[in-house]
Subunit: 241 residues, 6 copies
């Protein structure tokens, strides 16, 4: 059986979460998000161009990039300078999809591209869920700046998204796994939800074992609670509580 969580955290408890805005003076929007010892620097840039496949549509596009600093991990992670790893691309595709789910791309002020860069400064499990949660704040702020400069009338982000992980570790359901827990998890689930309490993305993986419908629903219950708290923190930090 799995022992005590770090800092005596309860099974259903998030780690200490912080969302610090405006941390990069050159980005239109930025947020340093911390889920415990997992720290991700999210920045949102808007460029007045779209990919060839989007030209002439009159619509914008929103995409994400994800990378880890080499020293963010216990064993140094080499830079992806000769081609991208599948894991990184998978994560950045997830971040992009999650944000696009609440973004009105027909109302971005024309054929513009928002790129949300998520750079992991320190990794301790849950980098993708922290990244989604922080990316939303960075995107919100960048679009506010866009709105202030008269490019759009309303913020194209019409809803909120946040994400958290849930896992089964030593037979015990845990919320927001850190690296030690994640590396021992039998089931690993990442959930992205919006402020209506609905799912945007559900990804559950049995690492060693398979899981029943009942188990799945228990995990989603736990995720829902955690995400509710994260959405509240997002609103607080942008001053819309």
């Amino acid at each position: 059986m799995f022992g005590t969580r770090t800092d005596n955290r309860k099974d259903r408890a998030l780690r200490e979460v912080s969302l610090e805005r405006n941390v990069m003076k050159n980005a239109a929007g930025s947020c340093l998000v911390k889920f415990g010892d997992t720290h991700v620097l999210c920045s949102a840039t808007i460029e007045e161009r779209v990919g060839g496949w989007r030209k002439g549509s009159g619509m914008g596009w929103l995409t994400a990039e994800y990378a880890m600093l080499p020293a963010s991990t216990a064993k140094r992670t080499p830079r992806e300078t000769k081609g991208r790893k599948g894991r990184s691309q998978e994560i950045e595709r997830l971040i992009g999809r999650s944000l696009r789910n609440v973004c009105d791309m027909a109302n971005m002020g024309g054929e513009v591209t928002m790129t949300i860069d998520c750079d992991v400064l320190q990794a301790d499990g849950g980098t993708r869920t922290a990244a989604i949660t922080g990316a939303w704040v960075a995107a919100y702020d960048a679009f506010e700046m866009w709105r202030t400069s008269g490019k759009v009338k309303t913020n194209p982000l019409y809803g909120q998204v946040a994400a958290v992980s849930v896992g089964l570790v030593g037979g015990r359901l845990l919320l927001d796994l850190d690296y030690r827990e994640d590396s021992q998890a039998e089931i690993d689930m990442n959930v992205v939800m919006n402020a209506k309490g609905e799912f945007v993305e559900v990804q559950g993986t049995g690492e060693q074992v398979s899981f029943s419908r009942t188990r799945l629903n228990e995990m989603l219950d736990m995720a829902e609670e955690g995400i509710g708290e994260l959405l509240r923190l997002q609103r607080e930090v942008i001053g819309k509580e």
Copy 2:
């Protein structure tokens, strides 16, 4: 509202599925899987080597590669000769995880690697679910060959896995989407299950909309039915019905 499905298929019906074994004389195991007009050639190769990170463990490894022939799609898809696309890597990681879930890697006859190549000859939606379903047959046969040659005593694949997609299209739940349906889907879900009726992998994505717990459970019900049929076909084709 979404209209009639191709060939008047019922909402809860799979496309015509076929699993043809031993189609490549040089592969240890192979299976040409067809989900309607989606055709994927799966082949399993066993090599007596493992990656550096696995050396000295005494255990084997199982991995997958996924690619589309250029003319498999309506618009020609360029070959990935200068780096891999995120989508391809995401799919091959999913195939690999799904098969490893039912594979006893400590009983593969030592430090050997099974590579399952999934090459899409023709794409009409659901290539990843077809690939997983066919990959299982190819892997099973390759391990049987391995067993026959005395390398292992029992087939390391101790369970079955199969996969199917479910989607919400024009407000209607549909099983096993073809390309036309998939490109209009509001919600897209891929489900991998085993013969115990449990989940190995659940990936649900809201493309335009979010979805409730009730909707999620309806979709999983539908997937469960379809996968049951695929698992039965797998057993039939390997002669273990």
Copy 3:
């Protein structure tokens, strides 16, 4: 001295050849060609664009790509995802040149590109000669579709091409070498001819030995016979016998 050929084939005999048309629903033209156990899937796609160097010429272009599925060979062949191998590029250049020799590129319906993808499903020697022979059928059919859709008045392929290998193995001249024979050949020759009985391409290589003019002419005699048979099969399959 070299022993018996597989299936007691005569020295001057082709392997069993088949040309199956229309095997890929998304390609304009396609042909699964088999020279014994060598199976190549050829598909022809027409795109309404040309490379920069061809723009403004009013002419079309025809090119080929060649690749082997990893499990097509006895020992798994890695995918060429980080740069192409010289052998593959050499073969695809040969296929392209051979087809262009009988193609009226000024009559392709403008600045369009035909790409012929030749993917080896199973390799047992002679993949390049099988590819050329099957590529011709795929290209013919794609151009027929192009003609039917009114893009051109006549099929731009104004002639036929087919190809075969000849080799000296253990001092004996053999037609259409399989892998076992090819790997022991002292001289290896690939010949491409048209329906006028003339050469389009002749490539002869002494692997261990050099060869005289007399030997060269004997080999060409043998190739001429085999190609005559292949050209007849092509006509038969397109219904122009």
Copy 4:
């Protein structure tokens, strides 16, 4: 003529400099260095391996990597995922050489490699000089950790290095240029010095103009002063003032 410097800085004054240690829990040593709005995260990792060319020498190696976060610049800088830019490689080679100049590689505890990652979080001119100055602190701390763990008896960094830029802008000599100044500079010089007041590296470039010996010496005088201050700050931060 060039106008007022930001914050009414004097021509011979450094920007506000800070060196924050131990900012990354997974790195052996780390330092967030700020030269005004230029922020560079430096981390030092020690791995027990050396490149092939160094094997069997009994000596260690010290190297550096340099990259900019995409949103560190006013216009987003693409990631170097398909090959490195010359500028980045030039800078990381400079950082590596500067640190090796004061490192006893024969006394690193065997064939180990220290990699100093310098990631620019925010760029406002002088990223390479800030990186060198911060890299020294990160390296020092990592080697102290190495010493504490008994791998070496004394810290292999036997001296200090720090760096600053000097430039001629609108005919006026300025110390520690920010981006606005740097982009208008007629002469640009980067100087690396040690605690003996001697040069480790001098790189001066006339962008538009050439420069005399007298001018060169004036610039070196100015650099010397600035570096003296930086060396003092380094000592202060490691507690060896």
Copy 5:
């Protein structure tokens, strides 16, 4: 009809050929070969290592690399720094095969690799035939140096090879085509022969037209004459006339 050749050269005449030895002090053997305005610098290096596939065989290997300096052509040719072109790889494979045909790889003094670098300084048609002819001289000299240093008892190059092009231009057969002729050729043939007057490699391509057996034999007659002269020059330059 095709007009006068440059310098009133006869149809069956070679351009002025020169073979200058020992032009690179660091190479074991080197030769600057000129076929008129085509200049290729060939150098042969011997390294005491072989590729993994050759290890344990006790045999050596001989390979070639081919590249063009950017300014060797009328329109600047970009460097192949992001992957090799098919044409370059095809040519270097031809050079390697031609030289291996006369090299006793079991007698190279163990598991060593000879690399023959052929760098085109100036291109005016026939770079591959000039490269083969010059490469032989560079290889011969490098192996002589190898023999002198006691590594082998006899020079592993037991025969000579040289190469020339023949073409049909405006209906006229021409030997050793320059760029202007080559770009207008209807048939283009490259022939490699040895001192026994036998073929090592024959590559004939119909660019616009096909060609009969009679035509082929006329072209080979012409090549044979030219190669005879080149072989004589090789012997002269190494002092074995």
Copy 6:
């Protein structure tokens, strides 16, 4: 202490220098520069295009590329076909900057790019300084050709640049180091100057040691003398003595 220099060269003496013009018939300007056994082939090409960032400016651009032939070095140097080395990019950036310092890019006849290719045929130390010195001659000649063809009224190169290395070897200051000297140098300095006797670029590196201001000035004195001689040779070779 360091012994005798090759050929009893004096400490303050250049190696034998030669600048041979017009050595490549296809380049607009070319120069084979020799500093003793260091031989670099420099060619200048002018193309009527500029990079995207320069479009619409009405100005030209001048850039350089640097590469070593594999056999130019004692140990064969692999070609940079899979990405460029930092050293090569650093050198070509230095060559480009040095030439741009004396080039009026607003007077290049519009949006044209001059590329100066510097290919090292033989390396014996000082390849970058030889390259800069020879590149100037190639660029001058190419611009003269440009002027003669009426593209510009005056040669855009309004000044001269040449370069030399200086080093401290065994405590002794030496000019224009060869490879043997360079590999033992404690301090290595490359200096680029113009005909006004002013500096264009100064790069000094302490390899093992640091250096004082006095030492720096002694080294610059020595460089100045050597460069004066190189500038005189450049004028002589272009006939402007």
